[in-house]
């Protein structure tokens, strides 16, 4: 296993949480100090743009571009919201990061808030991450004590207060506008866009929502520089490192910080230490439950946003879930669709009812009661749900269905022909 540059995990000691003293001892809050004392907010925003950092929450939108839309100079209250909902199956990297080193995020939040000139920040954290929430509350208290949070931070005249807001379950809260509704205490259906949060966000004020990992990267970009950050990636299109959460049929299901652009093979073989129980790799979800499957033919693909889009999949959150060759891909897809259908917020028809229909079709197929009409129906549902739902949840739900139909249609046909699942014992 080659040693890769560790930014976010540089302080990580498995089983322990790093707090203020150790964090500072290893260079913590240096980025914040440098930035606040030597850079203007605009310079930081430009630096992030130059570093080509792309959002780590799944959509991969360039952070610098998003920040460029933000009316940082507009007077009045503005918000920075950190998205730690992290409920997409196969994604657990933010939880690991906050379990290990909560100050990474706190420093990033303060720095980002300065760059965006927001006075109030919220970290929206899922119900299950209560331990991480506690870590954050302690880190915030420590940072406040040290004068990094609160009024007139480091004598700069800049004020920032930071709150932790615990959720109570439901995947849709990860969608940024639903999250804002959740924070406000109204029903967390996604909002109509436009207006985008940068214009009308939390409580109607300009707001930026970013993922935990995205924000935690900001201090490292400030200390290391844009070019250095870009060069951390192995592909020219990529930039920085990425937290890869491994799961499924692998020997080692842990979270690693690896360079963007690393090959799938290296992830599976080197970091995942090969397939569990000595079986063969069949397929994987490359970046969470909503990303179309990769198969054996993709093992040498570089894992970054551009390369995966090129082959019809997505980098997503880089939560890699591997499946061995004894796995029924219809069953995998059914499991995923059950998740999405159950987590639908109930707002729009293609998701609320369309996913129910898809689930039923997959149940028919998986249970051996499927007919060729069901296969046709599945294709038809894919065509009609994709791109037509209100938010990206149903869109994402169709990712695995698309992957199933592209790479494993024969498996569906086998189910229909055999009148049973060929993988069932």
């Amino acid at each position: 296993m080659s040693q890769t540059t560790q930014l976010l995990f540089k302080n990580r000691v498995p089983g322990k949480t790093v707090f203020f003293k150790d964090f500072c001892a290893n260079g913590g809050y240096q980025g914040l100090k440098t930035a606040i004392q030597t850079m203007s907010p605009l310079e930081i925003r430009d630096l992030v743009k130059a570093a080509a950092l792309r959002g780590r929450g799944g959509a991969g939108f360039p952070t610098g571009v998003k920040w460029g839309f933000f009316p940082a100079d507009k007077p009045g209250i503005k918000y920075l919201v950190c998205n730690c909902d992290e409920m997409e199956p196969g994604t657990y990297k933010d939880g690991v990061l906050l379990g290990a080193d909560p100050h990474q995020l706190v420093e990033g939040m303060i720095l980002s808030a300065f760059a965006l000139q927001t006075q109030v920040g919220y970290i929206f954290i899922r119900y299950a991450y209560e331990k991480q929430a506690e870590n954050l509350r302690r880190a915030i208290a420590e940072a406040t004590q040290a004068g990094y949070l609160g009024k007139n931070i480091l004598g700069s005249g800049f004020d920032f207060e930071l709150h932790v807001h615990g959720s109570a379950g439901r995947y849709i809260l990860g969608e940024e506008t639903a999250l804002l509704n959740g924070l406000e205490g109204i029903r967390p259906n996604p909002r109509l866009k436009p207006p985008f949060p940068a214009v009308r966000g939390l409580f109607g004020q300009p707001t930026t929502v970013n993922n935990v990992e995205t924000i935690a990267n900001i201090p490292h970009i400030v200390t290391g520089g844009a070019q250095w950050f870009k060069d951390l990636a192995l592909t020219p299109d990529g930039s920085g490192t990425k937290l890869f959460g491994l799961s499924g049929h692998l020997n080692r299901t842990e979270c690693f910080e690896l360079p963007v652009g690393i090959s799938l093979r290296e992830v599976i073989e080197t970091y995942g230490q090969g397939m569990w129980k000595n079986k063969q790799f069949k397929a994987c979800l490359p970046g969470g439950a909503s990303t179309p499957f990769l198969t054996r033919e993709h093992l040498d693909v570089a894992l970054d946003f551009a390369s995966l889009e090129k082959i019809g999949s997505r980098f997503g959150t880089a939560g890699v879930t591997a499946f061995d060759d004894d796995t029924c891909m219809v069953a995998v897809t059914l499991n995923l669709i059950r998740f999405f259908a159950r987590e639908s917020c109930g707002w729009c028809t293609p998701c609320r009812d369309g996913l129910t229909m898809v689930r039923w079709i997959l149940e028919m197929l998986e249970s051996g009661q499927g007919t060729p009409e069901h296969l046709e129906m599945l294709k038809d549902q894919l065509k009609n749900i994709s791109g037509k739902s209100f938010c990206a949840l149903a869109e994402g739900a169709m990712g695995p269905v698309a992957g199933l139909l592209t790479h494993f249609e024969q498996e569906i046909v086998d189910h229909i022909k055999g009148g049973r699942c060929p993988f069932s014992k």
């Binding site: 997409e88 199956p89 299950a128 439901r170 959460g245």
Partner: protein, 170 residues
């Protein structure tokens, strides 16, 4: 709208916490943002959120009960029906499924002699399916009182249940 004075609240919330909530709600611009905080606090104290818990939340925040209910019923980790002392959230999402969650599910149901959604007769355990818990690396996993347990095997489940039983009878 019900008022706090008209309600008995001690079974729902610790009175200091109640006082804090009332004070905080009076200080902030949008008390609504506290709905989940208050509901979670009631649940922590009472085990689940009964109707008068919704009404109390509404009264603290200056809302109507249905305005709280709209939120309470959206989230799956707020219980609007009685649950046992230990709610076992068994992950049924894809990573846990690959690592044998079905087997754990069957084992849990057999051991506890209940189905998903039910509570054991002694009121100790409620078994609920959950979407991905965010600990896919230790699949298959359960969450109990916001703590993760995994990777689970039937043997480890037995140990866990035994420990919890002991804790429950203490």
């Amino acid at each position: 709208m019900t008022t706090i004075e008209s309600q008995t609240t001690s079974h729902l919330l610790d009175q200091h916490i109640l006082a804090d909530f009332i004070q905080h709600a009076g200080e902030i611009e949008h008390p609504r943002e506290m709905i989940i905080d208050v509901l979670r606090a009631i649940q922590l104290h009472h085990g689940w959120v009964p109707d008068d818990g919704v009404e109390l939340t509404a009264a603290i925040l200056g809302l109507t009960p249905v305005e709280v209910e709209e939120i309470a019923t959206f989230y799956d980790k707020i219980f609007r029906r009685p649950v046992g002392r230990f709610v076992i959230h068994l992950c049924d999402s894809v990573c846990c499924w690959t690592r044998g969650a079905d087997e754990i599910a069957a084992h849990l149901q057999k051991t506890l002699n209940i189905e998903f959604g039910q509570t054991t007769a002694d009121g100790l355990f409620t078994l609920l399916p959950s979407c991905c818990l965010g600990c896919c690396g230790i699949a298959p996993a359960v969450m109990i009182k916001q703590q993760f347990y995994g990777p689970l095997t039937p043997e480890k489940v037995d140990e866990l249940i035994a420990t919890l039983r002991q804790e429950g009878s203490a």
